[in-house]
């Protein structure tokens, strides 16, 4: 046991004690404000946004601006990773699996697409949403790359297309937000700006939320698959 180790263990121990003490202390006067904000969301959220999934309602309507921000974070991550990846020289990379795997993957891909888009489009009705759907779509590319390999010469174009999609998704998000301003309200306005909210529980409802979900889904799917491609390329 070196001094450093003892010191760091002691420090970690102290930190743990401090955390627990803090939590205990914070538990004492917990409900003096009664969380009126969350009460409001629970009671009024569905009327306000016509989105059954309250988390989506908060994510894309009440706090849509945060979502724009977090989408930007992924955007930047994909941008920097693709920027720093070296242009690879190898032309074809693939693994040898049994034919069963190839068949199964080919079979599964359309369903994955359907599942991904289902998650995106039903984001305001059921658990899911743009992020989850986007991740599912990204897994399609991951699966395909792992099983069938990738032809580098074609990949350049694919990457370029994906990056275009990503940018389009981000720009689309902002533009949908701007629609609220066009109709005389604030950025990212939804129900107040008079967009068709429809009836809670229907697919076409909740104004801009499904569209924002779609944009986010496209964006996340593209970004994550870019990140994956670049990481794979770096590892080789």
């Amino acid at each position: 046991m070196t001094f450093k180790k003892v010191y760091s263990l002691g420090l970690i121990f102290l930190l743990g004690i401090l955390l627990v003490v803090t939590f205990m202390n914070f538990n004492q006067n917990n409900f003096n404000n009664n969380y009126d904000l969350s009460e409001y969301y629970i009671n009024q959220g569905v009327q306000d946004t016509k989105s059954i999934n309250l988390v989506t309602a908060i994510l894309f309507d009440y706090r849509g601006f945060d979502t724009l921000g977090e989408a930007t974070v992924i955007f930047i991550a994909a941008l920097i990773i693709s920027l720093l990846t070296k242009r690879s020289t190898s032309s074809l990379v693939y693994n040898n699996f049994s034919p069963l795997v190839y068949q199964n993957i080919s079979f599964i891909v359309p369903f994955l697409y359907i599942f991904g888009f289902y998650l995106i489009f039903y984001g305001h009705l059921s658990p899911g949403g743009g992020f989850a759907g986007g991740v599912v779509i990204a897994t399609i590319f991951v699966l395909l790359t792992i099983t069938f390999g990738v032809r580098r010469t074609r990949e350049e174009d694919v990457l370029r297309a994906k990056s275009l999609l990503e940018n389009l998704g981000m720009a689309g998000f902002v533009i949908i937000g701007l629609l609220g301003m066009v109709s005389g309200y604030n950025f990212l306005a939804n129900g107040q700006a008079g967009f068709y909210l429809g009836e809670a529980g229907k697919l076409i409802s909740a104004g801009t939320i499904p569209w924002l979900n779609l944009m986010t889904g496209i964006k996340v799917g593209a970004s994550l698959s870019i990140i994956f491609n670049c990481l794979v390329r770096e590892v080789e």
């Binding site: 760091s8 420090l11 102290l14 930190l15 401090l18 003490v21 803090t22």
Partner: protein, 522 residues
């Protein structure tokens, strides 16, 4: 109405941009016309400028600063003539900046602009000293700048304390934060103990630069001593210590410019004595001594510059000798300068030393001055004898003659020495004159003036072996270098802790977190 220093500051910019052939004429015209403007300036406060939340008084004319301003401008004319063909563009620009800031400092009327000019002076003199050819000078200029900045910061701190206690920025004798002001002034005027920058810098810059430097930096220090610290008896003792030790240090030097540099320190001691004893005559004596010192010390620096110029860099008394044959004009000037500084009657040094003596009553101070005067005479006899009259063991070659500009410049100063020596009232009337009770040329005073020199001559004869310039190694103890080394050691230890290990850095973060969090709990 404009602060004469600002004319110089503006001129320095124009000098930077002007053409080669016009530059020297412009420089001369500026200096002369500033002298005329200065002559026309009546006393009182003139130029005010609002800045931050107070008024900057850019021009405040009193008898004293007019007096010093005259000497400064006069010396700048002589120095420019002296170096008229030697200065490069950079030299002209920086010299004028330097002179301008020193002049401005004399005339400003509030602490803030005082500080700004003080710093401008430090900066410009740093770049003036900064000489890219010689690595030694680079180190010296570094030392110079750091030391002067310590002084300046100390001054700034003093000003801030003074300001927050008094509430006005007007330049007066300080009441709060005296130690900081003393430190600042002490570094500027090279008190013994804070003097280490002076011999280093003055002896190693090009000779025409050291001529300029010798006149201004320390004298501005003396002016600020007069302005800020007022008369305090204990400072007079510090002054006498400076005078005696300075002259002793000077005696042990063989390089002429080093000797002269230590002499500046010693002469500053006289001025401090005069300014701190608190009598009117003493004060006037101190100020007159300041003026005289600029004149004859500048002249001496010019002379040794001429020697360096004609022998291509020789200034060691061990090697010099029998220069009177080769440089006859220069020899005349050096005699004038030496007798002036030694206080021989009919030369200006006599007048100011006499006034100083009249002003002091304390026997310690009187005797101290007497010893310092003997030392002074001795060291200049040394220069005269070993440099100019004693035949050298190895004949020294003079490769080129001093230029006309040099001779004219030196001549101006020598003439000034003589005129002041004969008619001191000409200069003293600017200060308001001295009552007639001092008869400078009475037999008694003539004898008093001659005494030290005679004693010095006897000493030279008796202790010839000891006085004779001989090669010796000196290892001056330098506290400030030691301090710097300690600071460096501390820093390198800190630097070693940053060993690039991420986990160590995170440990620091957690330590900070736990410490802060823990203190919140307690």
């Amino acid at each position: 109405m404009i602060n004469p220093g600002i004319i110089y500051l503006i001129a320095s910019i124009i000098l930077y941009m002007s053409k080669e052939e016009w530059r020297k004429y412009f420089a001369l015209i500026t200096a002369v016309s500033t002298g005329i403007i200065l002559f026309a300036l009546p006393q009182g406060q003139y130029l005010q400028l609002p800045f931050l939340d107070f008024e900057m008084i850019l021009l405040e004319v009193t008898a004293v600063n007019r007096f010093i301003g005259f000497i400064f401008v006069f010396f700048s004319i002589a120095a420019v003539i002296y170096g008229i063909n030697l200065f490069s563009r950079k030299d002209y620009c920086l010299t004028y900046f330097y002179i301008g800031s020193s002049l401005a400092i004399i005339f400003v009327g509030d602490f803030f602009s005082f500080y700004i000019c003080w710093e401008l002076m430090t900066i410009s003199s740093y770049f003036l000293i900064f000489n890219n050819q010689k690595p030694v000078t680079r180190e010296t200029s570094y030392y110079y700048f750091v030391m002067h900045l310590v002084g300046a910061i100390s001054l700034l701190w003093g000003i801030l304390l003074h300001y927050s206690a008094v509430g006005t920025m007007a330049l007066t004798t300080v009441k709060v934060g005296l130690p900081f002001f003393i430190l600042a002034v002490a570094i500027k005027l090279a008190f013994i103990g804070f003097h280490t920058w002076l011999p280093k810098t003055y002896a190693e810059t090009p000779f025409y630069i050291s001529v300029i430097l010798s006149a201004y930096t320390t004298k501005v220090g003396v002016y600020s001593f007069y302005k800020l610290l007022g008369s305090r008896q204990y400072l007079a003792y510090a002054g006498i210590v400076t005078a005696v030790i300075g002259v002793l240090l000077a005696l042990s030097q063989t390089k002429v410019r080093k000797l002269l540099s230590y002499h500046i320190i010693s002469q500053i001691g006289y001025m401090i004595v005069g300014l701190s004893v608190g009598t009117a005559i003493g004060k006037k004596g101190g100020l007159l001594h300041l003026a005289n010192n600029i004149l004859y010390k500048g002249l001496l620096f010019m002379i040794i510059g001429a020697v360096i110029y004609s022998t291509k860099g020789e200034e060691d008394l061990i090697n010099l000798g029998s220069l009177f044959k080769k440089l006859p004009y220069t020899t005349v000037y050096v005699i004038i300068a030496a007798v002036s500084i030694a206080g021989i009657p009919f030369f200006n040094g006599h007048i100011s030393k006499l006034l100083l003596k009249k002003g002091t009553n304390d026997p310690i101070l009187v005797w101290g001055m007497y010893i310092a005067a003997i030392g002074t005479s001795l060291s200049f006899l040394k220069i005269l004898y070993f440099g100019f009259f004693k035949s050298a063991e190895q004949e020294i070659e003079t490769k080129q003659r001093p230029t006309k500009g040099m001779l004219v410049g030196m001549g101006l100063l020598a003439a000034a020495c003589l005129i002041i020596g004969l008619r001191p009232q000409l200069l003293l009337q600017i200060l308001g004159g001295v009552k007639k009770e001092v008869n400078y040329f009475s037999l008694h005073y003539l004898w008093v003036g001659l005494q030290p020199t005679l004693l010095a001559a006897i000493l030279l004869k008796l202790a010839y072996q000891w006085v004779k310039p001989q090669p010796h190694k000196s290892h001056p103890f330098d506290l400030y270098k030691l301090l710097g080394r300690g600071f460096n050691y501390f820093g390198s230890k800190l630097s070693q802790w940053h060993n690039g290990n991420l986990q160590r850095y995170i440990l620091w973060i957690l330590t900070a977190l736990v410490l802060l969090w823990g203190q919140a709990l307690i």
